[in-house]
């Protein structure tokens, strides 16, 4: 049975590494994304991640396969959903390959594509009490445009 890519539990990087390492892969590159205590100059207290689960699983699987096919790397990844505190790991990726160029490239591909394509969202709880969905595109129309 496939391990899901989304998890509500703490991510264990060592387990991801164990899933990709092997005797013929001499390089393992990992990426950890952790919750920072500030965003756009404002103090953050905690975060909530939510996902469109079934689609996120499919998209993570696609991205993993791309990395494996393009660089011959073995890749494992997990993204946390639910409530996270400062310093908690939100995403972890492990990429193993015979040589380090491929391991670095595969790991980088996965985080870039994950941020671009996987339907996951985050809501920031700021120290001033406000709560906001992170949306760099600021896409919603204003009430006046209604």
């Amino acid at each position: 049975m496939k391990t899901p890519y989304l998890t509500e539990r703490e991510i264990d990087l060592e387990l991801l590494i164990e899933r990709v390492e092997s005797a013929d892969r001499g390089a393992v590159v990992t990426f950890l994304g952790t919750v920072r205590n500030h965003h756009a100059g404002r103090e953050v207290e905690r975060l909530e991640y939510s996902a469109y689960g079934p689609m996120a699983e499919i998209e993570c699987e696609r991205i993993r396969l791309e990395a494996e096919q393009q660089w011959g790397a073995a890749v494992a990844l997990e993204h946390r959903v639910g409530a996270l505190g400062i310093g908690d790991v939100s995403v972890a990726i492990a990429a193993a390959a015979p040589h380090r160029d491929a391991a670095f490239a595969a790991c980088r591909h996965v985080i870039e594509q994950l941020k671009r394509r996987v339907p996951i969202w985050k809501r920031e709880h700021f120290a001033d009490g406000t709560v906001e969905w992170v949306d760099p595109t600021n896409e919603l129309k204003t009430e006046e445009e209604d």
Binding site: Y52, M55, I111, P119, W121, R123, L140, K141, D146
Partner: protein, 85 residues
């Protein structure tokens, strides 16, 4: 009388707050496109009028554009700009 089709629409993350619900059942005349479903939503939910003209849409878990036809029993999801990682 034109044939009708019914599908489920899911509103994710911020869109669920905007529309006040996480999902809706929409019935409209067949044939219909994703864009037609959005038109019905804008007429039904006041919050839907704040959606962008071309929100990110997934039909049965695959990304589609507004011209894609919808069918009976489909699941259409409206997705805000993603922000994982």
């Amino acid at each position: 009388m034109a044939e009708k089709l019914t599908l489920t629409v899911r509103f994710l993350a911020r869109y669920a707050e905007l529309l006040g619900t996480e999902s809706a059942t929409v019935t409209l005349s067949s044939p219909a496109s994703v864009g037609d479903v959005l038109g019905v939503l804008r007429g039904t939910f006041p919050g839907a009028r704040r959606l962008p003209d071309r929100p990110l849409c997934a039909l049965n878990l695959s990304q589609v554009d507004l011209a894609t036809p919808v069918a009976e029993g489909d699941e259409l999801a409206l997705l805000p700009p993603v922000a994982g990682g």
